[in-house]
């Protein structure tokens, strides 16, 4: 084995109980000082493979070689001892404890005293600076931004002597600026001979940060290539197994009448915090209005107000010139508002219920689905089968629980349900979050089709690419206000980026 190889995985296979084969004869090597991207769609087996490397799963067969030595990794503890660390997608940090406390937790025997926290904090600060990161070790985790918390996770791993760091979808929660900072940090670490494995399904990230990339599909490695030899198109073909069109075909068309008019909308939350301030916007029939912004700047509350799920403190929501503010969600539904909610698990679906039942969530009271006051199961099943087929939901049966489907198929249920009601206004919040290329492409096409049919669409997304690709007009939200507007034609990524960071708004 060559000396510059830190890690070598040889013919790793893993089949889960239930017969799903997540990894098939996966072989992979990672060099010292290398940023190695693991690219693949959801369900391609990336996370399983890394969980095997981190001792959370056990492979059925195959070998793990680390620094020229064959090892087995039964638990995360052993993985850390071998120098393998993992930054999980959901942070493993305790919000009520300080940075330093989170970092040293479990490093000393349980019976040891921690009188010397100040010393420990100093040491951690010094350690971080040496590796090109800045952090305040005495700060509480709950006071840190998401990007800073991620930095703590990285330091936590490195402080334990890890030299091979796995990051699972690290940019999913970051702003463009934070992503940039993270990649800079990773480059610095690679220069210091750390090896980094980055799990992602975003090709632009791979192009930006990777030295080499391995593409996984259906549990197999399709190929490992130096970044100089690939283009996004090549990667997409490797990931999906067919050509993917990046440029959505969007016809030029004139907008119709305004369907939604929001005027002077204000929302005041707990502790008198102003969540929405003087929001005014219009969405016309046949138009997609995109709202860009970093998560948590009031977009979600705006969507909830417009769909009737939250009552604004003041202001108007006019739907076809009819005042809707203060009406119940049911009345919003009846007027033709469709909603693809941000969190499909919490709001979009009842995970334990069947696919068919999930299609019925708003329509159980329709005459068509009732018989003598009871649900007409025959009609419901037929309707569900029709939708499953039409919207290409991959499921064994319409009686399968929605929670057993993949994220993409779950989202198709929601999109299908909302679209089939022929909404006049469709509010789509993060419609493709966590979805793979195939499913994203599909959902985007469905949204554009709604536009063709003359629906008004309000698209709220933190993915700038998505906003740019779909919108006719783009609004940017920051701190509960709309701080800027550009048409899609003139859309300028830098300008939007600055607005998202609040640069032209009153505060930093």
């Amino acid at each position: 084995m060559e000396m510059d190889k830190r890690l070598q995985l040889i013919n790793i296979s893993k089949t889960f109980p239930g017969g799903v084969q997540a990894n098939k004869d996966v072989s992979l090597d990672v060099k010292r000082g290398e940023i190695h991207c693991l690219l693949g769609e959801n369900g391609a087996g990336k996370s399983t493979l890394m969980s095997i490397l981190y001792g959370e799963y056990h492979p059925d067969s195959g070998e793990i070689w680390l620094n020229g030595e064959k090892i087995s990794i039964p638990t995360p503890k052993i993985a850390i001892e071998h120098g393998v660390g993992m930054v999980h997608q959901h942070f493993m940090l305790v919000p009520t404890l300080s940075v330093a406390e989170n970092i040293i937790m479990g490093m000393k025997p349980l019976a040891s005293f921690l009188w010397d926290m100040k010393e420990i904090e100093k040491d951690i600060a010094r350690f971080a600076v040496e590796r090109g990161m800045k952090i305040n070790p005495s700060a509480l985790i709950s006071s840190l931004s998401v990007g800073e918390q991620q930095r703590v996770e990285i330091i936590k791993a490195l402080y334990r002597g890890v030299d091979l760091l796995i990051l699972d979808e690290p940019t999913a929660v970051l702003t463009p600026q934070e992503t940039h900072d993270l990649f800079e940090t990773l480059h610095k670490l690679a220069e210091q001979d750390f090896s980094i494995i980055l799990i992602t399904h975003k090709m632009n990230e791979v192009m930006e940060v990777a030295d080499r990339v391995s593409v996984l599909r259906d549990g197999r490695v399709i190929g490992t290539l130096p970044i100089a030899n690939v283009t996004p198109a090549i990667l997409a073909r490797m990931m999906v197994g067919r050509d993917v069109s990046f440029n959505l075909e969007k016809s030029e068309r004139a907008y119709g009448e305004p369907v939604l008019r929001v005027q002077a909308l204000n929302l005041i939350g707990d502790k008198n915090r102003q969540i929405l301030k003087d929001i005014a916007l219009e969405v016309c029939s046949g138009e997609i209005v995109g709202i860009a912004g970093v998560d948590g700047n009031g977009q979600n509350q705006l969507a909830l107000c417009i769909t009737g799920l939250m009552k604004p403190t003041s202001g108007h929501i006019l739907f076809d010139r009819k005042e809707m503010a203060g009406k119940s969600p049911l009345e919003f539904l009846k007027t033709g508002v469709g909603h693809i909610p941000e969190d499909r698990h919490a709001m979009g679906l009842v995970m334990e219920d069947s696919v068919a039942d999930n299609f019925m969530l708003q329509r159980y009271n329709d005459k068509f689905f009732k018989k003598l006051g009871f649900l007409n199961m025959t009609a419901i099943m037929e309707y569900a089968k029709k939708l499953v087929k039409f919207f290409d939901v991959r499921t064994n049966s319409v009686k399968t629980a929605a929670g057993n489907l993949s994220g993409g198929n779950q989202q198709k249920i929601i999109v299908g349900r909302e679209i089939d009601r022929n909404p006049k206004l469709l509010v789509a919040v993060q419609p493709t979050r966590g979805l793979d290329i195939g499913a994203t492409e599909y959902i985007h096409k469905q949204l554009l089709q709604q536009r063709e049919k003359g629906a008004a669409l309000l698209l709220i997304s933190t993915e700038l690419e998505e906003i740019l690709a779909l919108s006719d007009r783009i609004l940017v939200m920051f701190g509960g206000r709309i701080v800027g507007e550009t048409s899609a034609g003139r859309a300028n990524v830098d300008k939007i980026g600055l607005l998202m960071a609040g640069m032209q708004a009153e505060k930093e």
Binding site: S51, E56, Y57, T75, P76, K77, I80, M86, H88, H90, F91, M92, L93, V94, P95, T96, L97, E101, N102, I104, M105, G106, K108, P109, L110, A111, S112, F113, L114, W115
Partner: protein, 310 residues
């Protein structure tokens, strides 16, 4: 002079009444910090009280009695831990069951062993051990330093608990376990072990608190003699914001209401004694209303730990 003497009696009573509350409350603090709420403290205390009383009755040995109370409640603690941690039963229901069992078993065995035969009688109790010199400090001396050994033990227990919680590696892990157990597990520490330990520790202290009632505060066992003290200890933990020092102060507050109502009853006021007796419970009620909303309650408290991915 008369006033000073009354105050001194009140303060002495406060400490005596606070001790079982503080013992149970400190244990529960650790348990809840690790993410397991046990509303069954009342059950532990009754079992402990009965085990201690019975042991003294037959052996006349107070320390053996404490040991017995600890052993028996720890057994119940292990059972509670098994159901709530291993089997992942609902912690509130398991705690309610523990209360019912504690009340039932202690009452049942008491009747079998003692009540039927009228053998029940007063037993030896922990006596006051005045500490020379210190006890002569005016007011504070007799209050703090003329008590029995179990009261003294809380002087050590409370600071020790605070040090363990805030100044040791174990305490750090304990606090993290109740907030974000998956973070703890991801560092190679077994959440289940930490929780078992905390639950058993809580059982042990509640058992001693119960023993205190039957062989230090009183000199006999009475059915349901805890009279809601387990629940008051539970309220203290929330009121004391899961901090041993504050829990102790809350214990003194509730202890003082018990002491006050006794003093007032003895003082023959015009208020019917039933109203005085509800005083501690009314204060508990008010305390819970005050502490509501600014709660530091551990996030994962009451939620069974499930390993991810398996």
């Amino acid at each position: 002079m008369d006033f000073i003497f009354s105050l001194q009696l009140l303060l002495q009573a406060t400490l005596r009444m606070a001790t079982p509350l503080v013992l149970a409350g400190i244990g529960e603090t650790f348990s809840e910090r690790a993410g397991v709420i046990n509303i069954g403290l009342e059950g532990y205390m009754l079992i402990g009280a009965f085990a201690a009383y019975t042991t003294v009755f037959y052996t006349d040995n107070l320390f053996l009695a404490i040991l017995a109370a600890v052993l028996v409640t720890v057994l119940f603690g292990i059972a509670f831990a098994y159901f709530t941690i291993t089997v992942k039963a609902n912690q509130i229901i398991a705690g309610a069951v523990l209360n019912i069992i504690g009340l039932g078993i202690s009452g049942y065995l008491y009747r079998i062993l003692f009540a039927q035969t009228l053998k029940a009688s007063a037993v030896r109790t922990f006596q006051q051990i005045p500490i020379p010199l210190l006890k002569d400090i005016p007011l504070l001396g007799p209050t703090l330093f003329d008590q029995n050994i179990l009261v003294y033990s809380t002087y050590l227990l409370v600071p020790l608990a605070a040090i363990i919680l805030y100044k040791t590696s174990l305490g750090l892990v304990l606090r993290a376990t109740g907030e974000h157990p998956h973070a703890v597990e991801s560092l190679g520490i077994r959440v289940i072990h930490i929780r078992y330990g905390a639950v058993i520790f809580a059982a042990m202290l509640a058992g001693i608190g119960g023993a205190y009632l039957s062989i230090a505060y009183a000199n006999q066992f009475v059915e349901n003699m805890t009279a809601g003290r387990g629940f008051i200890a539970l309220a203290m933990v929330a009121f004391g914001q899961w901090n041993p020092i504050y829990v102790w102060l809350a214990g003194l507050l509730f202890g003082s209401t018990f002491g006050l109502q006794l003093r007032l009853q003895a003082g023959q006021t015009a208020i019917p004694y039933q109203f005085l007796q509800i005083l501690p419970y009314v204060v508990t009620f008010i305390a819970l209303i005050i502490s509501h909303g600014r709660s530091m309650q551990p996030k994962a408290m009451g939620i069974p730990f499930e390993k991810e991915g398996n």
